[in-house]
Symmetry: C2
Subunit: 497 residues, 2 copies
């Protein structure tokens, strides 16, 4: 490469030498991927990776080019066959969305346009603003609220709690920070609250000891009396309560806090109400289920995901904030090189980067925009009801089976249960179910995950899957019982862990 700037030099780019060759490879990819999605039901949900495939990922940094079709061959051979499993109709582990074929295509379009969605006067800005307006409409949230698409629930909670901190601090928290505050700022939520809330509290410098996790009622919703008492006691000790986090769908059991009760309390006590509705908020899309979460419209900030119970491809979450000025006041930071103009590329409404942490942002709004048009929101409501009905169905099958035990109420789409045998004590039941879970995954029959409730190891099915059918759930019940019996028959009882 000649450093002589006066002479010509060979100019290179990353565009293909042969566009037609890439076009035909692209078409091949489309065909392959759509077939892959069409036939997902025929494959195991999850498979362990063979050692020789693992070894393929040890190659050093590539220095020289490889033909695109050969790179794609590597992908087909070593990557594509070993997914998480969440696109499969019998994946119900954690709370992981499914994605859709059209969503995949939308992601391709977004990556081709490759806009920077931090701001600017461009179509992606208007798409995202429209998607946020639609989100408010879907969830019954006030139309004057501000909003931001983010990468997921963790970030959505972090953004909401940052705004809460900004709004309620006695000091200029952006300038002064929390260093040297005289009264510790404290937050309140139930023990069932998602770990991302604790992570956000830590990131924000509030300290996890400032997050008071109070007990729940029988149904795993927060005990508001206990919460109110904790606030009172903390005030008496000279602390500064500033925020309550309500759950619209807890991670363990799908429990929904009494959000109206929390809103009343926050109003009375002058506290910020943040609702973590990662998946549960979407219950608002169903006329039948809407009532369960209606209190969330009173939240000061609301976090939810579209890549979970709206089945969009990763990543897309959202934070809505009732007060636009407070939201912008938390994050807006405009150095000289980001000066806005009245005309040209930098014109347009307030840039999204003034509402969150990220300055450069991808076009994650496009898949939401295209998918909502493709299906219409009513269909999403029906699918959410379908998943809730499916969870109820599993719960009923569990309750009517001698070999299975339901371990928590099923208010939404999460079922906690276990294989049960009266011959086993609690530690043995834990061990048996732990082994059962792994074998279920290893057989590729279904993926559940586990949790602990009242100290008991549970199998946990969270149904945020548009591909699941009744027959899949019948197979789950059948497999769990067969595996449980098999492990019992092996003389598992009393084996050391």
């Amino acid at each position: 490469m000649s450093p002589d700037h006066n002479s010509g030099y060979p100019e290179e780019s990353l565009d293909p030498q042969d566009w037609d060759e890439l076009r035909s490879l692209g078409r091949q990819m489309i065909d392959d991927m759509l077939s892959y999605l069409q036939t997902v039901r025929e494959r195991p949900v999850w498979s362990p990776m063979p050692e020789d495939v693992r070894a393929a990922f040890q190659e050093p940094l590539p220095r020289s080019p490889v033909k695109p079709s050969d790179v794609y061959r590597d992908f087909r051979k070593n990557v594509l066959p070993y997914p998480t499993g969440n696109i499969h109709p019998r994946f119900w582990g954690w709370v992981i969305g499914t994605g859709t074929p059209f969503g995949m295509l939308a992601e391709m379009l977004a990556a081709g346009m490759n806009p920077n969605c931090g701001g600017f006067d461009q179509a992606s800005t208007l798409v995202e603003r429209q998607v946020i307006d639609w989100a408010k409409e879907m969830l019954g949230y006030p139309s004057q609220a501000s909003g931001l698409l983010v990468n997921g629930g963790s970030m959505a909670n972090l953004v909401g709690l940052a705004v809460a901190r900004q709004s309620k601090a006695d000091i200029e928290v952006r300038r002064q920070g929390l260093q040297g505050v005289s009264r510790r700022m404290t937050l309140y939520s139930s023990v069932e609250t998602h770990s991302s809330v604790a992570k956000a509290v830590e990131i924000l410098g509030l300290g996890s000891q400032s997050l008071r996790l109070v007990k729940t009622r029988e149904d795993f919703s927060v005990d508001i009396n206990a919460l109110a008492a904790t606030i009172l006691a903390d005030r008496a000790e000279g602390l500064k309560p500033f925020c309550v986090i309500g759950n619209a769908g807890t991670i363990n059991t799908g429990a929904i806090d009494d959000l109206d009760g929390l809103a009343d309390l926050c109003q009375k006590e002058g506290l910020w109400l943040h609702v973590d509705g990662a998946f549960g908020a979407l219950a608002a899309l169903s006329p039948r289920l809407r009532e369960l979460v209606k209190g969330m419209r009173r939240a000061d900030s609301l976090a939810f995901d579209l890549h979970k119970w709206m089945y969009m491809p990763y990543e897309v979450g959202c934070t809505l904030v009732r007060s636009e000025p407070v939201h912008r006041g938390t994050f807006s930071l405009i150095p000289a090189y980001l000066a806005r103009t009245k005309r040209g590329t930098s014109a347009g409404p307030t840039p999204f980067n003034e509402y969150g942490i990220e300055l450069s942002r991808s076009f994650k709004a496009l898949k939401v925009w295209m998918s909502l048009k493709e299906h219409g929101v009513d269909k999403y409501g029906r699918l959410i009801e379908q998943n809730v009905d499916q969870a109820q169905y599993v719960a009923k099958r569990v309750e009517t089976s001698r070999e299975l035990e339901l371990l928590a109420p099923v208010p939404l789409n999460v079922v906690c249960f276990r294989f049960f045998s009266p011959e086993l004590d609690e530690p043995a039941l834990d061990r048996l179910n732990e082994e059962l879970l792994l074998r279920l995954q290893e057989r590729g029959a279904a993926v559940l995950n586990s949790t602990k409730l009242h100290g008991k190891y549970c199998l946990r099915a969270a149904i945020t899957n548009h591909r699941t059918r009744r027959e899949d759930l019948d197979l789950l019940i059948q497999e769990v019982i067969a595996l449980g019996k098999g492990i019992l028959d092996e003389g598992f009882i009393g084996n050391p862990r």
Copy 2:
């Protein structure tokens, strides 16, 4: 939708009714998008959106389905023609990457597989680990370091500074927070540091007043003597200096701090060295430029982007951290429902969610993995050199033109200059260049942005564009001079702003 769980009910999914129809739509999209990229040079860089197009984004939430091909038609009509402009060969505004056709296809594959890359025993985990190993190799960073792909430079800096806070706090910062610390923790950097560092400092609860921005030398690199003196003075006042942020390529001018000098100082003073190498770190890919940034290998944490100067589609940035245990200790948080197992889906190495804020994560590693294989890292090195040579070329054209003035040194790929006329005073020069910038954008000829240096309004070209050719830069110079003269001829001098 029947809530009767015993009877059959009509099961729906979001999969297409007709897979072949979607397959042919997908092929059409591939053809269209590749043609769109192939012909990008023929279109204006940026165009304002007509009012009727803007109005199309006011439609209420769609309730009923629309045919996928009609949704795509909407996209083609109202979205695709109005991009940011950054995929165009004459876009040099801010520091925004270009994307590639193959990167677009990789994003499609990633969205189709749609894995959750928070952890799990699956191919995406190994792809990301390999990409991080490659990143360390590319940048000459220690091989035992840990790393995480993130959404961009803002998050990469936030992660790095969170680890710094964790490592250097006298207290248990995760549990106690910064509330009530007795000695204010302070950070040091130059006034040219990117705003995302200040944003991270605010988010972390440190307070922007804790970020001491010290002056730069003539070349806009940090004045290390001034920085050391500020640290000394702060210590004398009872504060607790804990971190220095070095710049490998400042946003305004591409200046590179004396990173070895900063590393020496941090070693002596017991401070954490974080390097913000958003784009500049990638200079390490060029044998000719490597020396400029070699001190960054001594950083405790290093942030950089792959969607900027590695031309990947949005989003993908990276943080590398020298000490894996400190990195993990900052973020690891494992509730019951995330318990890892020795076998099954939850097996595998430490999940990525223990190294950062996000729990669910998309497969952003795939485009990096596929692109590095496609081109080989040596080609990226050549393209980075090409961009630097192009910046030098612009600088030379500016310096040899009577009508233009260079306003800063050009150590890398950023050129700050302005149209100049001896007849104009400084305020008039500012106004003229401001108008010039907007007209340049509105004509669709080129996109630059502006900044201020020593109070002067500058036109700023940041070249992180693999499509740019020498002829594009010639056109830029020609347009800037013609526009400047035109504005002068209009009698612009002395016009009120």
